[in-house]
């Protein structure tokens, strides 16, 4: 029984870890080419930020920064234009999302179709914690049964001894012919 619970807990735990840990490992090429000129440092930083969180539509797992695909080059150029024209963060996201959908965002928005993606890990975690709590509680109940106070222990010992004495007496009376056996039965 405890083995079953253990394996369930392990399974739930592994699922939770698997789902919670972010599967998105964007490939950043160390030598990201940035041929663009920016007027301010903050514009440059915005460009770097967005080229990291936006995914190349052609590639399964590369951001705009790390991809050599033609479309990634075009979108980097477009991103540079948007930043130079003072688009806000939300306007840049909207621009990309309205053309390329949620795919272009590494972090999908929370809505109906992505709710499982966002909340399943939490549900799995809660189930895992619940199972764990039940397990620990059950263990504690077992422990409680096993632990006796010194007084109770002494009383139980005394009762056991009196029962054994009674037993030995009975067996002596009924099977006087086989003493060796009766000795074994008496519990020594």
């Amino acid at each position: 029984m405890s083995r079953f619970i253990f394996s369930t807990v392990v399974a739930v735990f592994m699922l939770t870890v698997g789902l919670v840990s972010n599967p998105v490992v964007a490939q950043d090429s160390a030598s990201a080419i940035m041929p663009f000129e920016f007027e301010t440092e903050s514009e440059r930083q915005r460009y770097q930020y967005f080229s990291k969180i936006l995914r190349c539509p052609m590639c399964q797992n590369q951001n705009l920064n790390g991809s050599n695909a033609g479309i990634a080059t075009d979108l980097r150029r477009e991103l540079h234009r948007l930043i130079s024209e003072d688009y806000s963060d939300q306007e840049i996201i909207d621009f990309m999302q309205s053309r390329y959908g949620n795919f272009i965002l590494y972090e999908p928005p929370i809505n109906k179709s992505t709710s499982v993606l966002w909340f399943a890990p939490i549900v799995f975690l809660l189930v895992g914690v619940a199972v764990l709590i039940v397990l620990v509680r059950r263990q504690r109940v077992n422990d409680d049964v096993a632990v006796l106070s010194d007084q109770e222990l002494a009383a139980a010992r005394a009762r056991l001894q009196s029962l054994q004495a009674q037993d030995a007496k009975d067996s002596k009376e009924t099977s006087a012919g086989i003493p060796s056996n009766s000795k074994a039965l008496s519990g020594k």
Binding site: M1, F4, A11, G70, I71, D74, R99, G101
Partner: protein
């Protein structure tokens, strides 16, 4: 009951396996267009053979048709070209070309060699219209209705199967909506 519980981990495993196996056949690169049921973006770009003529969205309106994103550097475009020629010439499907990030003379040579079943070609040298359409690369084919709304986007080669299963039924439906 206790016995059955023993099989719970196995059951969970089986369910997960079934779920993951079921998704194996799906194309992970399939991307629905973000523009479905939305108006085709506005544009004003030259025509391939008449550089002084400016093509706009209005030139495509009136009846449902296909907008095919192609380029002479795109090998898959060469593969789908005979079939596109067939549906345009034999079935009379309005076929428009979006010449995507291509040198004009190279595009013209390509059409010279393989034939030109297109009604007209929009020249998108910079790929800017491509971005507005959510194009990731060539070939891609958009189905639009008589009002110029994008109704479907096909990524990759258009062949007999794509035509019979998706494009033809959709075009028929769009014609009936007209």
């Amino acid at each position: 009951m206790q016995r059955l519980k023993l099989f719970l981990p196995l059951l969970i495993f089986a369910l997960l396996a079934a779920l993951l196996f079921g998704r194996l056949g799906e194309d992970p690169e399939y991307l629905p267009s973000a523009l479905i049921d939305k108006a085709m973006p506005e544009f004003a770009l030259p025509e391939l053979y008449e550089p002084t003529r400016i093509v706009t969205r209005d030139d495509l309106l009136g009846e449902p048709g296909l907008l095919n994103v192609w380029a002479s550097w795109c090998f898959a475009c060469r593969v789908e070209h005979p079939f596109l020629t067939k549906i345009a010439r034999e079935y009379g499907v309005p076929l428009y070309g979006l010449n995507y990030k291509n040198e004009t003379d190279e595009a013209q040579n390509w059409l010279q060699e393989f034939g030109n079943p297109y009604r007209l070609h929009i020249v998108d040298r910079s790929g800017r219209l491509g971005i507005d359409l959510g194009v990731a690369g060539a070939p891609e084919t958009f189905v639009f209705d008589h009002l110029g709304r994008i109704r479907h986007r096909h990524i990759g080669i258009v062949d007999e199967k794509v035509w019979a299963e998706t494009l033809e039924p959709l075009l028929q439906q769009l014609r009936s909506e007209q």
